[in-house]
Every structure is written in C-alpha cells, then in structure tokens.
Subunit: 222 residues, 2 copies
DNA sequence: GCCTAGTTTAAACAAGCGTTTGAAATAACG
DNA sequence: CGTTATTTCAAACGCTTGTTTAAACTAGGC
C-alpha cells in the first residue's frame, strides 16, 4: 500500500517505501535505545507493525538492516561534514576549538532530516562502537573515509606540532568521549535535569562536549 | 579437590576455592574480551573446565557472577584509590593533572594482584558501561561511593571555578574517554604497533590518556 | 561404616533468537 | 480478464541462551 514510483531510463520500477521505511524507522529508534545486540527482529517488526519475515525479505539479514540504518544517516551527514571541514580548513590561524565546532551544524542539520535525527544518529554511532564487535567500525571507516581524512587534515593544520602517533591516540580518545556520551545521553540529560534543574537537549550536550575534546586534543605534549 | 579451610568461631567451614575461582578467572578473561552479553555461560564453564551448572550453583545467576567478577577487583582497588586521592588532596596548589595521575599507581597495582589485572579490570569497566543497560553502572556507583566522592573533592580543589553542573558533564566525558579507550585498548595497541612500530601496553595507554582528560576537564569555561 | 552435608554431573527445560519456507494476497502489465 | 511478478503472512526450523532437575559422587564427623 502507498507505493511510489521511480521512472528510470524508459523502464518503470516499482518500489514500496512503506514497509521498508517502517522497518528502518522502528529499527533506528530501538537500536538507539537498546543497542543492536539488545534489539530483536521481533521487537522491530512488531513496533513497525509489519511481519517478522519482512526484515529478511527486504534487507536480507539483521546485519544488513543495521548497515542500512546507519547508511541512511551517513549519506546525509558525510557530504555536509566534509564540506564544513574543508571550509574551516581554508581559514588561517585555525584553532582546535574551531575545528571541532565545524561538526556542530552538520550534526544538528540531521534534526531537519528526521525528528530526533541528531540524537538518534549519535546514539547509534555509540552503539556501533560497543556492540557488534567492531564490524560497524570497519563499515564506517571504509565506507566513509573522506570525513576522517578531512578531519585529520584540519587537526593537523590547527596543531602542527602534534605527532601522527599522538594524534592517533587523541582522536581515539575523542571518539570515545563522544560515542560514550551520546550512547547514554538520554540518561545524562535526565540526571542533569533532576540534579541541576537544567533543561538540556542533544544540541546542548554537543556544545558542552566540544570544548572538552578540543582542550583534550590541544593538551601540551609532555 | 584442593580444598582450603577457614576456621571460624569453633566451627569448621569447608569451602572449595577451586571451582569458584576457576569460574571467576575464566569469566573475567572472556568478559573483558567479548563483553558480558557476548559471553555465554557455556563458554565460561568449558574454558574453566567445570560443569555448566556450577555457575548457578555457586553464584546463583549470571548477573551475580558479573557482580562477583567486578567486586573482586573493586574491593582490591577502591581502598588504594581512595587513599591516593585523599593524599593528593592534602597537597597545596593542586593541578588537575596531579589529580588524575593519582589513579596511575592504584590502577597499575592490580597487575600485582593478578596477571593482566589492570587491563582486564579497565576493559571490564568499559564493558559494564556499554553492555547490560547500566545495571553495572548502578552497582558500582552505589557500592563504591567513596571513590567518587573523594575524586570529586580533589577535582574541586584543583579547579574551584568549575561549577557543579559543568563538573558533572566533564566527569562523564572523562568516564567515556577512559571506558571506551579501555574496552578497545587491545585493538588500539595493535594498530599503534603496526602503524607506528611503537610497542605499547596498558600502562602506556593510561599515561597517554591522563594528559588528555586532565586538559579536557581543565578546559576554560566559556 | 553409616549418615549427612556439600559438590559435581548429565540431561532436560522453557524461552528467545535469526532465518527459511510455501502458500496466500496483492499489485502490475499485456 | 488473465498472467506474472512482487509482497505479505503464519508457521516452523534449527540453534543458542540461562536456568533447573534429580541422580551420582565426595568427603567429614560420629
């Protein structure tokens, strides 16, 4: 039901978006909250109100579904992020705080792409690095190398004294900070609200974490 | 076989350490590598060369086994860590780098307690925060509040301008950095070796991460 | 040597998982 | 309309999980 059509070169392809997208949406939400391993296909299909077998019919396997969920965001994010990093890189007297701030707008733009998009994506990213013994880590670094390369280039320009090895470690520390924070961001936001009576959202968390990681990467070499 | 005896008040209790400890040792290693959810009781018991039912007989459930594995380390670590933090707190002109450096010796002392103790414990800690939807987080913060309190006190002394709310966030960022780094430290050490031909161990990683988190927490307030 | 409490064992249990099947339903096209 | 391709569906598959059972085995105390 509710099919849309895509007209190709003379040929007419049919593709139903309903079921496939209902699965993607339900999976995205549940994966973000419970992790990939912690979410079963039965949970996903019942939340999406589709048949259990639909996942394997449309995506082939659970692993491919996970990839599809991530790709939907990465395809949206990565060009904007690369552009933002390239732009910032042209600037002279570049600071690390500026480099990391280049992530803010592209990340927040995911909220226009989809409701709670930024939060969901970052949580998914966090899950991907802790669940599923690193296959998602491999998937992202091989499928989207442009982001990483431009990011490294920008950091190098802002902090030329940083050796390649030290950069390697500090970027992984940064990854850890972000990924961990985001995968438990809902809980942290709740605690901050009850303890400090401060309303906070994902944009607020991003703006808090960026000075932290920028200072961490900028730490003096011993 | 190989039982040891504990003499109580007149009564004589028997307790075999062999099976129970074999399970704890095997579980610890497997949990650290594969995570809690990723490790089955059958893997543990076959590695420990004991019967499958032994886990439920000696520990009651898998959840209690996880707690026991963590407690074995926390009971060793927490008094040393508290002492170290209290000591550093008495010092004047305290820097954040010194506060975080107070973790080094207590953490590395776990290597004397058990082979690969430091590495195993930190990896377990990392797993505990990503697997098992936060029940271990609850367990640790409620069972060992002294460590956290003394740590917060030390950070406050070293950086008095830091508000309670900002401290809350930055300490969570720090937790994320450490936990994420440690749960994938084996992989990172391997990459560092192949990419930079630098031999690294867990002590080396700790000494790299501490300047990073110290600088992150020390970041200027905007 | 018997009795008792503690421990180990093999086997089964019930529940959940991802995946596959083959028939029914639906939509597309000549 | 009739044929064909696509999509849905209920049911089952084979496997793994944590946990339980009840019988076998072990050793200490009298």
């Amino acid at each position: 039901m509710m099919n849309i059509f895509i007209y190709g070169v003379g040929k007419r392809y049919r593709c139903q978006m309903s079921t496939k997208n209902k699965i993607l949406d339900a999976a995205e939400k549940l994966f973000a909250i419970q992790g990939f391993n912690g979410t079963s296909l039965r949970e996903i299909t019942s939340q999406a109100e589709v048949n259990l077998a639909a996942v394997n019919y449309h995506f082939g396997s659970k692993k491919e579904l996970i990839k599809s969920v991530m790709s939907r965001y990465m395809n949206e994010l990565s060009p904007r992020l690369e552009l933002s990093l390239v732009n910032i890189c042209e600037q002279e007297d570049l600071t690390l705080l500026e480099v990391f701030s280049a992530f803010i707008d592209p990340l927040l733009s995911l909220n226009e792409f989809k409701e709670n998009g930024t939060s969901n994506f970052l949580q998914l990213l966090g899950r991907g690095y802790s669940d599923s013994q690193g296959f998602l880590r491999w998937f992202l670094t091989t499928q989207y190398p442009g982001v990483i390369n431009n990011f490294v280039k920008a950091v190098q320009k802002a902090y030329p004294e940083l050796t390649a090895e030290e950069m390697f470690w500090r970027l992984h520390f940064t990854m850890g900070t972000v990924v961990f924070t985001m995968s438990s961001s809902d809980a942290l936001i709740d605690i901050a609200k009850s303890d400090f009576d401060k309303k906070m959202d994902i944009a607020g968390v991003i703006k808090k974490v960026i000075p932290y990681v920028a200072a961490g990467v900028a730490a003096p070499l011993l």
